[in-house]
């Protein structure tokens, strides 16, 4: 086994819709894939990233050159299969080393028919995207004709205006955990496992519902809290989910949203959402908690964000802000017991600094309960 069997690999190409084509070597499944090319700066946690349902429709380019170092493991999955459309690396590693690994990353990719390319000057492409914004791209190890690949990249639909959550939501409602704590109803737009585990670890009873479940059905389960999950795609293309979020607010059941869920809760309250030029994808993003004054290093993965000037005091208060570009990272709603966070307090991968947000939500549930007990 060689750590980079590049001598033995077949050629592959990565073509961008703007006509950029780079040649590399095929990794994983031999085939072709298309998606929006984005990059992630996390230096570990590749498998968590590759299985994060929020990345559906996106080709993931890892900026750290060596990917595959510690192999692949069941424990590192955020979904039961890869969710990214493809993988781009600089120096893919096949000869992994970690006793927790079940198999090599490449074997795992092959089993799941995930297409990848390695030997790519990823830094150059990162700089390219940074200047021009994210682009659609095609990876192929079966078609190596530049013109054909560029045409395919151009023909691929843009992420803006694309609804993707329906592809990754659960088909049936299911119980994830039973505990002594609050009952949490999860709207699944592509929920990461570690979000569910985060609730479970806090003793919650968790039931996961398909994205299109009417709120009345969810309320019939008698939840103490509603959770709007992360997920892929453009939230503006999800009118049904926005309606649900609006109804949820009116129900006055404490509500928590992460990432896409945060954007949906915002849209439901008339807050605008826009597509960012590059987005935030990494595990080193500084977020200031404006209520408590501290800074947390957060895991982020979003290409859309809420527009700050559309937030009015009557609707919500900005609770968290990104220190790099000052974008809004968290909201506390005024008209109903709700909070929402743009990034990933469940981490996986990334730092655990923001895990307290789950506790805050549980506190909100408790407060709301005791308030309603007092009034009745």
């Amino acid at each position: 086994m060689s750590s980079d069997s590049s001598a033995a690999r077949s050629p592959a190409k990565l073509a961008l819709e703007d006509g950029t084509v780079v040649t590399g070597l095929a990794v994983g499944h031999m085939g072709e894939t298309a998606g929006e090319l984005c990059f992630n700066t996390s230096m570990s946690g590749y498998q968590e990233i590759m299985t994060d349902p929020s990345y559906v429709g996106q080709i993931m380019m890892m900026t750290y050159p060596h990917i595959g170092n510690y192999g692949a493991s069941e424990a590192d999955l955020e979904a039961d299969r890869p969710m990214v459309a493809g993988l781009v690396t600089r120096a893919f590693v096949d000869a992994y080393s970690n006793t927790l690994a079940d198999e090599s990353l490449e074997d795992w990719m092959r089993r799941h028919e995930l297409v990848g390319i390695t030997g790519v000057d990823t830094r150059r492409l990162v700089r390219h995207i940074r200047e021009g914004g994210v682009l659609n791209a095609v990876i192929s190890s079966v078609d190596l004709d530049d013109a054909s690949l560029i045409a395919k990249a151009k023909a691929h639909p843009s992420m803006a205006g694309l609804e993707l959550a329906s592809r990754v939501t659960t088909a049936e409602a299911y119980d994830f955990a039973e505990g002594d704590g609050p009952r949490i109803a999860v709207y699944d737009y592509g929920v990461k496992r570690n979000i569910l585990r985060s609730f479970k670890r806090r003793g919650c009873t968790v039931r996961v519902f398909p994205a299109d479940t009417p709120l009345t059905v969810v309320l019939d389960w008698n939840p103490d809290g509603l959770f709007f999950s992360n997920g892929p795609g453009d939230p503006r293309a999800m009118p049904g989910a926005i309606e649900t979020a609006k109804a949820a607010a009116e129900s006055r059941v404490p509500t928590f949203g992460i990432c896409l869920g945060h954007q949906l809760m915002g849209l439901a309250q008339g807050i605008e959402v826009y597509k960012m030029k590059v987005g935030h994808r990494g595990a080193n993003q500084p977020v200031k908690n404006l209520d408590q004054g501290h800074v947390e290093i957060s895991t982020q993965n979003h290409g859309f964000a809420v527009q700050e000037d559309s937030i009015t005091e009557a609707v919500a208060r900005v609770t968290h802000r990104n220190l790099n570009d000052q974008t809004v990272e968290g909201l506390r709603f005024v008209t109903f017991p709700g909070l929402s966070i743009q990034y990933h307090p469940e981490a996986s991968p990334g730092p655990h600094d923001s895990a307290y947000l789950f506790d805050q939500f549980l506190d909100l549930i408790a407060e709301t309960k005791s308030a309603s007990t007092e009034t009745t």
């Binding site: 750590s3 570990s44 946690g45 900026t63 750290y64 170092n69 600089r90 150059r124 991968p349």
Partner: protein
């Protein structure tokens, strides 16, 4: 919180002379801290006894005290300066210890001085093993099982307990409160136990040692953290040691970022580190935490915490681009992380964790050849004298570049000579030695498997597979002739970091490095330069900090149309070529900038100020290795290069510059060569009617004996073209001559041997001069206290001379001038003299900045390194003279005191001879010769003399 306004003046304590375990990384951190504090408007008073530091330059602080670092001297300074605060975290353990002593005395409190950047009560915990243990236990962090012993008897009982009573299990001993782990190590068997424990008890100032469960074979990690007064903590860098536990991290090959932990394992370590740092009292600043990790069970234990900036934080700063010391200094005066910008991007926050899109490898540099009888095995006690760091897009590229940086004659990780025989390789791999990565590579060439090597070395298979890849690539190349080498393979080979010289060695046909270079360029393959930007390209970076790689995308180092000068750095520190040369390089850079040039720096030593991205207009963090230097030159096309500042490293490349038609600023190459070539130089001395000791040259043992018999005894024997007296010996008969010469030829084959008549009991003198073609400036004449025979670097030297007549001093000046004129020196030169029976002999001349330039500059207050550089670039001495810039401020005498690291090598006799052994130096200003800084060494001048 914004910065504090209740303090105006801050005292910064340096780390003193360079010793093993505490080197020039503290000049880097001290300089950064001083810059940052002054930029914030604070007045900085600084104390350090090490003259060869940038931090003690008058421009670095408002007031500089070149004084010894003792409680007494600190008190004198405090009483004079009346600072509001003291920052003791930038000067290593030395500064912290001083701060602690004065804290114990309640001195700071009495004087109203606030100790910032550290919580003194809390750091006692990190230094007291038992209290540290208790603290870690209280916050739920696992540790190696251990107990403190205050006697040998107690130590025996504990060892029995930890070993489970079944014979002897290896255990670790760590004496409390010793620097760089002095006296510590693994005890493998019962026989060594008593000896090592007793020694540890002796070395510990409080006579206690920790007896600890042996984590040998576990993996070792380090995290570099910053914490602010609002309790925000960020991890700047993770570092994974290639060498498993058992080897001091300063002696280990280390890699950043960590490579083999899953994210969940890494986050567990991050959480533990943050918890640990927050538990250490209340302070704002930097911190380093070491962990051991058992790959089999996943058990992770905390090893130690250093609540200050360290060697590792200097490495982490250079590895990530994040200026830890600078930010730590700002945090110490009250800022919180979210208030500070990331200076690298200029647009984002300093409160983040750098993301790397490259791999950094640090390889330590040792000087075992200097210490006869030294135990070369690496243990928990640090033995390295320096280190080189390399950046590549892959681990293999960075590892090969690191080996090219070491300046031990390697063109990469092997593949430039035949590997050692398999039996030697097997022996070397059984224990931890400095060349482990090379021997792993050699083992693969002999057919060993990853499993076998992992079993013997405990090195993580990930690294072994990577090195195995290199050997596979070598095999592909070795099947080919040059003309068969196609672009795709050559690109892959270059991306693995192979140098053209290695490729030339590997190819079937007999080709040279130049042939490979020509072929490579014909195939369109040249390196590109990438920015170390802290953020993996996510944001645009403003800093001009570059490394080379063979990714064929764009070049991020845009060449300007300004006139450029390339200054070659001095590479990893070693005995004989240390911080003094970095000092001169930094001054060279600043002088070139002042003269309007764009100053480009190339160096690979992460500990230094010269590799601070703030210093040069552009920093190329690259090996000072011919191919890499030439690549930079071809990319930048500078007007010329400056070689005189980087010691022997840069000078060794002079020939290549000459051949490639690259301009050398200052003394022309053929003249430099005259000085370096003993035969030609002696002919010149003869022509100039300057006396020199009778000498001869030889290439074999027999020739050497013949020469010696002709000249007479005692006779000084040494290889040519070496620095720091490497391999130098004095022989008194022909048996000794043949023995010594055989040794030298074994160590340095194909080197000419020089034999000089040794002038017994002569007085030695060092003289540094600047010559501009017209006139000579004598920077200083240093008279040694020890008699000839002790290496000049190990001698106590006095400026000005204390017992030389005016006549002799005039002769010295006269001879120096004759040589300078004859060699057409333009810039700096050092001449060594011996005076016997009123005759002045010239021993040697070095056409470059010497080790004593910074000392003289500090003693006289004249920036000679900068002036020398400006003269190289065409300025005349008259200009400086007219401006009054050559007026010495020295009153009385300045004494240069050598400092040794003997405690690191207890098995080596404390003998001084022609081979340099000191690691650092201190300066003392004395009014007259009754001062004990003069009288003590004077009385002891023959004590340690050996041959």
């Amino acid at each position: 919180m914004p910065k504090r306004t209740d303090i105006q003046k801050i005292l910064l304590i340096g780390s003193g002379p360079i010793v093993i375990g505490q080197a020039c990384e503290f000049d880097y951190s001290g300089s950064q801290a001083s810059k940052a504090l002054r930029a914030e408007g604070y007045e900085v008073a600084l104390v350090n006894s090490n003259p060869a530091t940038i931090m003690t330059d008058p421009v670095m602080a408002d007031t500089v005290y070149l004084q010894e670092l003792t409680p007494k001297s600190i008190k004198q300074i405090v009483e004079k300066e009346r600072p509001d605060a003291v920052l003791p975290t930038m000067g290593g353990q030395t500064a912290l210890n001083l701060a602690e002593v004065l804290h114990e005395e309640r001195y700071w409190e009495k004087m109203g001085v606030d100790v910032i950047g550290v919580d003194i009560d809390a750091i006692r915990i990190t230094e007291d093993r038992q209290r540290f243990r208790d603290l870690m236990e209280s916050i739920g962090l696992d540790q190696a099982r251990s107990r403190v012993a205050k006697s040998l008897l107690e130590a025996n009982e504990i060892a029995q307990e930890l070993g489970g009573g079944l014979g002897f299990q290896p255990i670790v001993i760590r004496p409390s409160f010793t620097m760089g782990g002095a006296g510590g190590g693994i005890v493998w068997n019962a026989e060594e136990f008593d000896k090592k424990v007793t020694r540890g008890l002796e070395l510990s100032p409080i006579h206690e040692v920790l007896i600890e469960e042996c984590l040998f074979g576990w993996k070792e990690y380090e995290l570099e953290l910053l914490r602010d007064s609002a309790e925000n903590v960020i991890i700047i860098c993770s570092i994974e040691n290639l060498d498993p536990m058992g080897v001091h991290t300063g002696d280990s090959v280390t890699v950043a970022p960590q490579q083999t932990l899953t994210d969940k394992q890494f986050q567990q370590m991050r959480d533990a580190a943050i918890k640990a740092m927050r538990s250490i009292g209340t302070f704002a600043g930097g911190c380093n935490i070491q962990f051991a990790f058992d790959p089999k069970t996943g058990r992770m234990v905390v090893i130690e915490i250093n609540p200050r900036v360290s060697r590792s934080s200097a490495l982490a700063s250079k590895a990530t681009g994040y200026p830890i010391a600078k930010v730590a200094a700002r945090l110490a005066v009250g800022y919180t992380l979210d208030e500070l910008p990331n200076e690298v991007t200029g647009t984002t926050s300093a409160c983040f964790e750098p993301a790397l899109d490259y791999v950094v490898t640090k390889v330590p540099r040792f000087n075992f050849e200097k210490f006869e009888g030294v135990d070369e095995e690496l243990t928990t006690q640090m033995k390295a004298v320096g280190e080189a760091m390399a950046i590549g897009r892959t681990f293999t590229e960075s590892l090969q570049k690191a080996w090219q940086s070491l300046e031990l004659g390697y063109a990469g990780l092997g593949a430039d000579r035949d590997p050692d025989h398999r039996t030697i390789v097997r022996e070397r791999l059984k224990k931890s030695y400095w060349d482990r990565t090379l021997q792993i590579r050699n083992a693969f060439t002999h057919g060993a498997s990853v499993e076998e090597i992992a079993d013997v070395t405990q090195v993580d298979p990930w690294f072994l597979h990577q090195i195995h890849d290199l050997v596979e690539t070598e095999r592909e190349v070795s099947k080919l002739s040059l003309h068969e080498l196609e672009a795709d393979l050559l690109l892959r080979v270059k991306q693995h970091g192979f140098s053209d010289r290695q490729i030339a060695f590997l190819l079937k046909d007999d080709v040279t490095e130049n042939d490979v270079r020509a072929r490579r360029k014909a195939l369109g393959l040249t390196p590109t330069y990438r920015v170390v930007d802290t953020c993996a390209g996510e944001f645009a970076a403003e800093t001009p900090y570059f490394y080379s790689t063979y990714d064929q995308g764009e070049n991020e180092s845009e060449v300007t149309d300004r006139e450029k000068v390339l200054i070659l750095g001095s590479g990893p520190n070693r005995i004989g070529q240390g911080i003094e040369f970095d000092y001169s390089c930094v001054h060279g850079v600043l002088a070139a900038r002042e003269m309007g040039y764009e100053a480009l720096m190339i160096n690979c030593n992460p500990e230094t100020v010269s590799t601070d991205f703030d210093v040069a207009d552009k920093l190329y963090f690259e090996p000072v290795f011919w191919e890499r230097v030439l690549d930079v030159i071809e990319h930048e096309k500078p007007a010329g290069v400056i070689l005189q500042l980087g010691g022997q490293t840069a000078l060794k490349l002079a020939n290549g510059f000459q051949e490639h038609g690259i301009h050398i600023f200052g003394t022309p190459y053929p003249k430099m060569d005259l000085a370096e070539d003993r035969g030609k130089f002696s002919a010149i001395l003869e022509e100039l009617e300057i006396p020199f000791p009778e000498y001869g040259m030889a290439q074999t043992v027999d020739e050497a004996v013949d020469v010696a018999e002709g000249i007479g005894y005692p006779i000084l024997i040494r290889p040519s073209y070496v620095l720091g007296g490497q391999g130098m010996r004095i022989a008194i008969n022909k048996e000794e001559v043949s023995g010594y010469v055989a040794d030298i030829l074994k160590m340095l084959p194909e080197n000419d041997i020089l034999l000089d008549l040794f002038l017994e009991n002569a007085i030695e003198v060092d003289c540094d001069v600047i010559f501009d073609g017209d006139e000579l400036e004598v920077c200083g004449i240093l008279q040694h206290i020890e008699p000839a025979g002790v290496h000049s670097g190990d001698s106590t030297a006095v400026l000005p001379p204390y017992s030389l007549s005016d006549e002799i001093q005039d002769t010295i000046r006269d001879y120096a001038e004759r040589i300078a004129r004859r060699l057409e020196i333009q810039g700096l030169m050092n001449v060594q003299f011996a005076i016997k029976d009123e005759t002045v002999y010239v021993i040697e001349a070095n056409p470059r900045a010497s080790r004593t330039v910074p000392f003289i500059a500090k003693a006289t207050g004249i920036p000679y390194a900068a002036i020398g550089t400006k003269v190289m670039l065409g300025e005349k001495l008259a200009t400086f003279r007219e401006r009054g810039e050559l007026e010495s401020t020295l009153e009385g005498f300045a004494v240069k005191e050598p400092v040794f690291s003997w405690t690191k090598f207890p098995e080596v006799p404390k003998e001084l001879g022609p081979e340099m052994k000191s690691t650092g130096e201190a300066i003392a200003f004395v009014a007259d010769l009754t001062d004990e800084h003069f009288s003590r060494p004077y009385e002891m001048r023959n004590l340690y003399l050996s041959r």
